[in-house]
Subunit: 407 residues, 2 copies
């Protein structure tokens, strides 16, 4: 029997308990041992819930119990989670977590401490919820030079963007609906400003490159400025707008960003709708691959956490190799990264547009028409460096909006 | 340094050599050791190819060389591959393979022999080419009760069906084109009759259920009878036709089959086109997930093989747990499995159809119209047991074709 402790009895924590209880036989068989939840840590009381019997309020009870071999951190937030995890690893306990903030910030350090103590630190649920993506990256795609990882990494924003497209609704209205349905937080900033996706693409890039990518260094734009008109142009371009976290290596420079992109209907990410997430990967041998599933939700996320518990029980006393060094990875200069841009400018008619001015500012562009939109003209630029584009836009009069056209 | 030997210098074998040579640094880093190809076994000579220097014609050279720790079987066919693999495992060498026939037939036995000898037998490339699917099933989705696995498991047939839909072309014409482009074999039977997909779904089902599924027991239908008219009706139903291998567990009975299905545009498998493959998985905690990528081709397949080599080097002297017992899994009675069917019957006009006869034979049906098709009537049945449907069809006059409507 292997005893585990669950830190935090919130959505994911109660999900972990439910997954283990519902599928106890499968879990034990796959782990090769009986998995027993000895403690649940939470500051609250849960009167009437059978969990009360194993509830503790003091982390030291868990830390000092040598029988606890696996600690499951599903509290969220950087502290005290980070301190608890560090202490557990140093005490010779394996840890798994769904905490993307802590993993993005301290992943390299915690992997090293786990290695030094011959235990494991796993975090499958920190990116893509139930989708197996961390383990495939570290254990399956091990002979490929991975030059791109692009993902729909946030279910809330994908739900909002899907509804905006399908219903022609405005951002604020769909956000409100999403909040009512429980798909968006009352304070939606972390989702709609791209901060959540930013931490996730930082984790994926760190793993693929084997070195720490600080999420503070990742250029991040949200979806709050996207309008129905932008979607009309995306449709005219046979695409849709998706919030992507994307890592690309171009001529040995690593670029990472989070931003809305016009994604073509020919790209597999185009078809990932509603709250679903997906991670697209390109390797020099593998070519294209994609991993699709539920990026959030109590049970899918808990399923990923419990798969880590199973792996840690299977690997008792043996560290699973992971390459994520603490040395900070130097990113390429964001201003040099080239993209195509959809640009909308004010104009009563396309004849009012001075095409020479457009050409001088943006090079050879492709004009796009969208049905039912008046008093503006839109075009897609050739690939332009981010810095040069930003400058061109600042000096150009009457720009309504811009969206990258990328996939 | 870990020495390996590659059995067979055909498409996949030369791909394995190319992947290791191109990405040698990545492979060594991820394996934690230098991976060195000591021998390539092939009956042929390759004058002028640098491989000639390490080419051997006698398998015993490899078998008796204690320095060879990993044997890579990419010859194909059941024999002599099976004998070679068995001998290698018994000699304490790990083996990886892309050979779906051998894995489907002897997987359980070889996994047991590997376990007995404390080495590994891995076969990621045997299903889904470059797509990581075997390792996710055995190492990631370990706490879920997986009640469905449905896959587009054959690139040739998916290419043919995609072209038939997009170009309105006939099966024979697209097959000929696919043969000219090298996407289909000169003898296309294994692909178009579903035999290839059958072996793959048998492997996936064995893995998910943990017990041997004999591919001879899997009901298998190919795509040779699918016509442009069938596609018109699929379109009218807002779907397309895909050849699927599918495992489902319904009320504790396991059902497996390979057949063309009308797949709805709402299902993620609908968007998997051309030579791409994908495996859709449903778990009771995970909900829906899908793994997408290149199901064939020299380098994607070789990438999966080399990921197994890396895993085996990482696990020298330690058997990776796999649950696939030799005891044969009892399948549910195919005749009891319920599906909806698209049925096309001869009739000058829908008024000629005796709807009472239809109702008596097929229950409450949904009539479907497809533009430009005359002299026939089509409908979709309610879910009917396979046996009852077969009998109804045999007793009904003027049936043109039937296709299951399933996803």
């Amino acid at each position: 029997m292997v005893n585990i402790a669950v830190l935090g009895y919130g959505t994911v924590g109660s999900g972990v308990v439910e997954v283990i209880q519902t599928n106890q036989e499968i879990v034990n068989k796959r782990a090769g041992d009986e998995v027993n939840i000895k403690y649940v840590l939470d500051l609250r009381e849960f009167e009437g819930d059978p969990i009360q019997k194993i509830l503790v309020h003091d982390y030291n009870v868990i830390l000092n119990d040598e029988d606890v071999k696996v600690v499951v951190e599903v509290m969220g937030g950087v502290e005290p989670a980070h301190t608890f995890v560090k202490q557990a690893l140093e005490a010779g306990k394996s840890v798994c977590t769904s905490n993307k903030e802590m993993v993005a910030k301290h992943g390299a350090e915690l992997i090293q401490i786990a290695k030094d103590n011959n235990v494991n630190f796993l975090y499958e649920a920190s990116v893509g919820g139930g989708i197996p993506i961390i383990r495939p990256l570290t254990s399956s795609l091990t002979c490929d030079d991975i030059t791109e990882v692009s993902g729909i990494l946030n279910g809330t924003t994908n739900y909002i963007l899907t509804k905006m497209r399908d219903q022609g609704a405005a951002f604020e209205d769909v956000l409100k609906e999403a909040q009512e349905m429980g798909y968006a937080e009352r304070n939606p900033e972390a989702d709609v400003e791209g901060y959540d996706a930013c931490r996730k693409i930082a984790i994926l890039t760190s793993l693929v490159c084997g070195q720490q990518v600080d999420y503070e260094d990742v250029h991040t734009e949200g979806i709050t400025k996207i309008t129905q008109q932008d979607f009309e142009y995306a449709k005219a371009l046979k695409g849709s707008i998706k919030l992507l976290g994307t890592y690309q290596r171009i001529e040995d420079k690593v670029y990472v960003m989070v931003a809305p992109f016009v994604v073509s209907e020919k790209h597999p990410l185009y078809h990932v709708n509603d709250v679903f997430n997906a991670v697209f990967v390109h390797g020099n041998m593998l070519d294209d691959a994609m991993f699709y599933g539920r990026g959030a939700g109590k049970l899918p996320t808990a399923s990923a956490v419990v798969s880590d518990i199973v792996d840690e029980v299977k690997h008792m006393g043996r560290n699973i190799m992971q390459i994520w060094e603490p040395g900070k990875l130097e990113l390429g200069n964001f201003d040099d990264w080239k993209h195509k841009f959809l640009v909308r400018i004010q104009s009563e008619d396309i004849d009012d547009v001075n095409m020479d001015d457009v050409k001088n500012a943006f090079g050879d562009v492709l004009y796009v028409k969208a049905p039912g939109i008046a008093n503006e003209t839109a075009f897609v630029t050739a690939p332009m460096a981010e810095g040069a584009f930003k400058e061109a836009i600042q000096n150009f009069e009457g720009v309504i909006s811009t969206v990258r056209v990328g996939f």
